[in-house]
């Protein structure tokens, strides 16, 4: 570890924390339907979208209508992406490489993947997906799934805030306003900064080059910057190229790397302020933010420490580092980022449900890999995905106040709402569905030599980690991978597709049900017995709840994977 590495972490944290309030306040304005300074340009477009799609913007929805609209939009847009993938060779536009139709199982898994904000990729995009598919089929979902996440989060916040109300907002309005006032303006600026730093943006065929030694290279390119911006800002993570943000065309400089890392957390961190603002309890928002920041800092410290260590079985290399060369595990990492920036990126991308990578997690040290895997297993509530992190941590908040209520023997309250059996059941559904799907599917695939084990790139405990990571990433809608696993097989594609859909929609529906139920309740004034949901005490309780519910569930599986691998590697055993 170097001073400069910690300096980068400090800089990242300072910029992130400084952004929380302005970003959060702006998002509250947008999602409460108040005016913004962008109104003169965007209001007419907003009205046009409502008119063209037949949305009655002033009609509020109850939670069931909200959920059906969300499912309808997701289903239709998923079907569109599937069709584009299958038909890309026949479609007249933007396929200069003449890439052929994507196979049905891969098209299914990819359509599910992008619709659910997962962006798991079983394929090499630069030799599989046409520019049209990337733009309309995939990058479009980067906007769509992020906006759906924001919509669900704000619906839940409304549920907490409203009293004796049947409705929780209008899904179409929430999505449209997220698109127009939050995601698009930020992406236009962001994409241009990326191009300035070296990210390509064109619709040309790949350039044929002959190197200085006469070796031919086909330089893959395309509309990269426009997709890269929303890929990061929407915590999607689906790369334009196979190598994702480690590819110099996606992430050419240390500056773009810093901007990409910040943009993963920008909206999720801001949402904690939006929560405090919209519910009128700013202290609660800050307590939630503090919980997230603590877990993030711990995660980064462990990854950075682990990755800085030399490989003990390799001799004769300068692994201890110097001012001009970073120390530690450089397999799968880029020189321009080095150990510190790669560790920071890996922590952020798995804390959030982003899943972009600027280095290969599969080649991380066992302990570095353990942390990134555990981050996803915590439910991606450490900042988390756009919207998904917010509704995810609010589920844990409900659990935390419930546990506090049990301890003092009172009916728990949360911001003036009594938390009753129905609410706890819905939040428990959310908490239980997640490990149930991950662990059972992992078990099935680990026990099947034909469909499961034949895809492994590494043997021994790391092989288990590869399969466990795949299902954790899919159900957690993360999308990063221990990418040595060849997931482009019929079984993996089909099952991972279903796992991603389950991990998204089986979790969102209980959240909306909870939102609807909370909105119906009366507000009870705080009494001396009310457990406060702000301050250090609450932060400790929430952190504990997340660690106990999130991490302990998976501890047995983790001890057979990365923990065992670490111990065996220490004793000199390779596989």
């Amino acid at each position: 570890m170097t001073t400069n590495g910690w300096l980068q972490f400090g800089l990242f944290s300072a910029i992130l924390l400084a952004s929380v309030r302005p970003v959060g306040a702006y998002m509250a304005r947008v999602l409460e339907g108040r005016g913004t300074w962008l109104d003169p340009i965007l209001r007419p477009i907003e009205r046009l979208i409502y008119k063209a799609s037949g949305v009655k913007a002033h009609e509020e929805m109850n939670w069931r209508e909200y959920a059906f609209a969300m499912l309808g939009f997701s289903a239709v847009s998923m079907l569109m992406t599937y069709a584009i993938e299958r038909l890309q060779l026949l479609l007249p536009l933007w396929n200069p490489q003449k890439l052929v139709a994507v196979g049905p199982d891969l098209a299914w898994s990819t359509a599910a993947s992008f619709t659910t904000n997962t962006n798991w990729q079983s394929y090499v995009p630069e030799s599989t997906m046409s520019y049209l598919t990337q733009m309309v089929g995939l990058a479009y979902h980067n906007f769509g799934s992020a906006a759906v996440g924001l919509a669900v989060a704000v619906a839940l916040i409304r549920g907490i805030k409203r009293t004796e109300s049947k409705t929780i907002g209008n899904f179409w309005v929430d999505v449209t306003r997220s698109f127009l006032y939050i995601l698009v303006p930020a992406c236009v600026l962001y994409a241009l900064v990326l191009v300035w730093q070296g990210v390509p943006q064109n619709l040309h065929a790949y350039t044929a080059a002959t190197g200085l030694e006469g070796t031919a290279q086909s330089i893959a390119q395309g509309p990269v910057a426009s997709q890269e911006a929303i890929k990061m800002l929407g915590t999607n993570g689906g790369g334009f190229f196979n190598a994702n943000s480690s590819h110099p065309f996606e992430n050419p400089t240390p500056l773009t790397n810093m901007i990409q890392m910040l943009s993963i957390f920008l909206i999720p961190a801001g949402l904690t302020y939006t929560l405090g603002r919209m519910t009128g309890s700013p202290g609660h928002g800050w307590a939630v933010l503090a919980t997230m920041f603590v877990l993030f800092t711990v995660g980064f410290s462990v990854v950075y420490w682990a990755e800085s260590h030399p490989h003990e079985l390799i001799h004769g290399a300068a692994q201890t580092g110097s001012l001009t060369a970073p120390a530690g595990n450089m397999e799968g990492k880029e020189v321009r980022f080095g150990i510190a920036s790669t560790s920071l990126f890996a922590t952020a991308t798995t804390d959030a449900s982003c899943g972009a990578v600027n280095g290969m997690h599969d080649s991380f040290t066992p302990l570095g890999g353990l942390v990134v895997l555990t981050n996803i297993m915590l439910g991606e509530v450490v900042f988390g995905g756009v919207g998904a992190g917010m509704y995810g941590i609010l589920i844990f908040v409900v659990q935390a106040v419930f546990i506090a209520g049990l301890m003092v023997g009172r009916t728990p309250e949360y911001l003036g709402k009594k938390i009753e059996a129905y609410d706890v059941k819905m939040s428990m559904l959310y908490v239980l569905i997640f490990p149930l799907i991950i662990l059972s599917l992992t078990a099935v695939f680990v026990l099947s030599p034909q469909i499961g084990l034949s895809s492994l790139n590494n043997q021994g405990p790391h092989g288990l980690s590869e399969i466990l990571y795949a299902f954790t990433s899919a159900v957690g809608n993360n999308g990063s991978a221990f990418a040595g696993l060849n997931a482009n097989t019929w079984w993996y594609n089909v099952v991972l597709g279903w796992a991603m859909l389950a991990g998204r929609f089986l979790m969102i529906v209980p959240v909306l049900a909870l939102a609807g139920n909370l909105a119906l309740k009366k507000s009870v004034p705080p009494s001396p017995g009310t457990f406060p949901v702000n301050g250090a005490m609450f932060t400790v309780l929430l952190t504990g709840t997340i660690l106990i519910l999130g991490a302990l569930t998976f501890f047995p599986a983790l001890s057979l994977g990365p923990i065992l691998e670490h111990l065996l590697l220490k004793s000199g055993q390779l596989f």
């Binding site: 979208i49 063209a52 799609s53 949305v55 239709v76 090499v124 630069e126 030799s127 733009m135 089929g137 990058a139 999505v175 449209t176 698109f179 994409a191 241009l192 730093q197 070296g198 390509p200 943006q201 064109n202 040309h204 044929a208 080059a209 002959t210 190197g211 200085l212 070796t215 893959a220 390119q221 509309p223 997709q227 196979n242 190598a243 480690s246 110099p248 065309f249 050419p252 400089t253 490989h311 079985l313 300068a318 001009t324 060369a325 450089m330 799968g332 880029e334 020189v335 321009r336 920036s341 290969m360 080649s363 066992p366 590494n458 043997q459 405990p461 040595g484 691998e565 390779l574 596989f575």
Partner: protein, 211 residues
């Protein structure tokens, strides 16, 4: 229910045209107008022909050139198949490969520890950079193959070191293709080195200042 499907379809079509077509096309137009070189992939031309991109590694195997890091992209340095080895730290194939490469390098250059980046594959397989240590490590080999003195080659390397961006971000590094282009110029006797920005092949893609 009927109206939900109808609204979903209409909403998807309208927003897909806006976000999936209009947005990337607008960015493409703006990028071409504002940053045409970067937007086209930071291509490097020599005698009017494209020899590569300054952002992507390409294969160098001759002793006369500095070598990039080993690559796991396709069969090596293949931009249509970017990616890393994805070998675990506990994988004996990885340890054998790294140790084999170290031993080979050490045999040719005894007594000096091998910079770790020279024997590890990058995440993209297209890492255009090596550490300054890894460039200096290769100076004796290139100098010998070219019959030029090590000292001038060393100062050429020093000239090509890109420091941490804004003084703090990332790590310092040397772009292998740009360095090799200048090595060729040294030899051709038309050495205009140190060639500043605006030199024939100095088409740095990044907006950072050229040292």
């Amino acid at each position: 229910m009927h109206s939900i499907w109808k609204t979903s379809i209409r909403f998807t079509v309208v927003t897909a045209l806006l976000l999936g077509v209009a947005y990337p096309l607008v960015i493409t137009g703006m990028a071409a107008a504002m940053f045409p070189h970067q937007a086209a992939g930071s291509l490097v031309l020599k005698d009017g022909k494209v020899i590569g991109s300054s952002l992507l590694a390409q294969s160098f195997t001759s002793d006369r050139y500095f070598h990039p890091r080993p690559s796991a992209a396709g069969n090596g340095y293949d931009p249509t198949s970017s990616g890393g080895s994805n070998l675990a730290q506990s994988n004996k194939t990885l340890v054998a490969r790294i140790q084999g490469d170290i031993d080979k390098l050490a045999a040719a250059n005894p007594g000096k520890a091998v910079p770790i980046d020279l024997v590890t594959t990058s995440g993209s397989g297209l890492d255009p950079d090596i550490t300054p240590d890894a460039a200096l490590y290769q100076v004796p080999r290139v100098a010998k193959a070219r019959g030029i003195n090590e000292e001038s080659l060393r100062s050429l390397v020093a000239h090509h070191v890109t420091e941490r961006q804004l003084g703090v971000l990332g790590e310092s590094r040397v772009n292998v293709l740009e360095l090799n282009l200048d090595v060729d110029q040294l030899l051709n006797g038309q050495a205009k080195w140190p060639s500043g920005p605006g030199g024939k092949h100095e088409q740095l893609a990044s907006g950072e200042p050229v040292e």
